[in-house]
Symmetry: C2
Subunit: 148 residues, 2 copies
């Protein structure tokens, strides 16, 4: 249950872009030196965020990145889900039980559809919701405005 570097750096990058929202595009090299991550690693995070629709890019000379939406309309949850593989904390949640939670023998029943229905499943489901609710309750703009 550790947060990945991707999520930590990724949120930093999004904050940086939000701080400069409306000021035109930002190049990878600018951002990487500001945040203190290698260009190559940051590039991968940015790529993930772009594919999630949070960031847009202009290619070629004078190109760079910019937020696809106003920081008000981007939640921290949007960002972290993109970087943390949907925040699926346990495979059962995505409809696939790997049976490594001990389901096969306990009161639980992993039925034909592979969906887990353990007594403990409900705990993980609640936790999943709590995490998402928490992160969705914070917008990128509220973050940079020190409202969090």
């Amino acid at each position: 249950m550790k947060l990945s570097s991707k999520a930590r750096y990724g949120l930093k990058a999004m904050c940086y872009m939000a701080d400069h929202y409306g000021e035109g595009v930002i190049s990878l090299s600018t951002m990487s030196s500001s945040i203190g991550v290698s260009e190559k690693y940051l590039e991968q995070l940015i790529s993930t965020l772009r594919k999630a629709g949070l960031i847009s890019a202009n290619r070629g000379a004078n190109g760079g990145y910019f937020l696809s939406k106003d920081p008000v309309d981007i939640s921290v949850g949007d960002i972290i889900r993109a970087l943390e593989d949907g925040l699926v904390i346990i495979d059962c949640l995505s409809g696939e039980c790997d049976s490594k939670c001990g389901c096969s023998t306990n009161p639980c029943s992993c039925e034909g559809d592979g969906k887990c229905n353990c007594s403990t499943y409900n705990v993980w489901n609640k936790l999943y919701e709590a995490i998402n609710d928490c992160l969705d309750g914070m917008s990128l703009s509220s973050l940079i405005n020190k409202e969090v």
Copy 2:
């Protein structure tokens, strides 16, 4: 942000013990075959839970484990914190910033005490609280009584 096997199996084990609360001790072999984990691996989880004060043990022949407290008085948070290293999702939370969150360059300031004070720190702190609140809101007894 994946849940570890330790947490998954550990909660299963605690549920099993709660189901048999008041029926005397439970041996490792019984529990391991019921849950479907190897004795040796389960032993390590149980050991962690015992050191956290959640489980007690009788050694020697006819020995075994039993819950230290009534399932009503054990929260899921107690269990998961024991198994997931305090649920410290990022090192800054425990008062130690590894500066790998990009603090050194951004508006953030990791001061002399090593405590992180990033704009993003507040996000992780909120998330930490949300996770703990969620898990502390569920008792072991509520779980086995299908009240969750």
